[in-house]
Amino acid sequence: MRYRYPFAAALATAGALALSGCGANFSTAYRTYSLEGTASSERPQSIVIDAKQRAILAAPANADAFANDSAHKRDVFVCAEPSPDALSAITSNFAASLGGVFGPGEEVQGALASAFSEVAGELGKRNATIQLLRDGLYRQCEAYMNGLIDKWYYEEIAHKYVNAMVTLLAVEQLTPSATKAQKVSAAQGATVRAGTNIDVNTPGGTTPGANPSPSGGAGGGTAANPNPNPPAGGAGGGTAANPNPQTGGGAQAEAEATSPAPSVSVNVSEGTESIPSHVSNAVKTMVTWFLTKDTVDFCLRELSAEREGTLRSSAFVEACQKIVLQQVTLQAQIASASSPGTGTFGIDECSGALRSFWKPGGIVSPENRAKIQNAMTEAQTGDVSLALLINAEELTEKRHQVGAILKLPACS
């Protein structure tokens, strides 16, 4: 429908604007209000701001909260509500109806439609950790504002949130689904490609262990299988494997997607849900560490009190000392688990020299192997294998150090 007269068009626009008053109200970017329960003259003003409506609560401080802490006395408590996850999609019917009011080509249509149309959009990526922290800290502030917890307890909770944040973020970042296409730097300069997973599958329900290689080493060759729950039964003959290959002996799991069953297929891909065993171990360790952290903190406080003369039973002290020792061990495991032997292929002349020294004529020399091991210890190569030392680009410097100790010309 088209209006023949400008006046009619203006009247229609004004009416539409009036009808859209509610929508416009929702788009208010800044409003104030007061919480009930206090005299209006003393009532602090709370603020609602946009995105879309986010409350910043203000309430008079309880004088008792600062009875023993006058230095930090405040008159007003303020708590900022976490912002919403997404912009609200308020697309005014007014804007949509303009198509029937004005004809195509009339500039006012596009301008008004643009003004009243809001597109929903994600404000930012929020993982579970962020969600937990932002909501939890806000509720903590509310509890403090409402007098349910005191300053000291507030501080204790805030301290615990720091622990939770570090642990949960680490768990999330170590989980491949949360770290797709990301790299996690590890100790010793190694690069952990978190998105690269190794998953041994068992197509057709065949036994995953299998005897991977007829020409494999002695002992029947137990294959390494990161899958903790391999399906039972099926052909294959090999010992069902686990992450701890006990009789490795050079056994080999030849893995290709096209391998016929019984076989071991290995999925090395980016961004899959499978988790490498060293990562899952790290996650388990960190969760355990987090769960025991409070207990350890308590024990450390109590042990400190013990030193100051507070009497505790010997059994209590012993138990706490044991817990603290476990915590230290766990932290050592975390450090170890986060720096697995991972590298990118990259060899040089020194690689060949080391290999020839290790395996003269293609045969392993135990004597030279021992010499290399001593040199690796001297060069502080860490917990990496000789094979990785020879073939990993990241270990080039260490490789040359070891070669120099062995006086291999190609490595000097």
Partner: protein, 54 residues
């Protein structure tokens, strides 16, 4: 029981896979390898029990 030793070497060219694999096997590792579809290179994973290390 100590945790197993796990190592991973990525981007191994096809003509070097045999050498890498043999190195790990000679180092008492169990070897699993997989061709990377995108690059045509190989990933070589190796594992052995900590008791078997040394």
């Amino acid at each position: 029981m100590a945790d197993p030793i796990l190592e991973l070497l990525v981007d191994v060219p096809a003509d070097q896979v045999a050498n890498v694999e043999q190195d790990f096997k000679d180092d008492d590792f169990t070897v699993i390898k997989k061709k990377q579809q995108a690059s045509g290179k190989w990933s070589v994973a190796a594992a052995k029990s900590a008791e078997n290390s040394g």
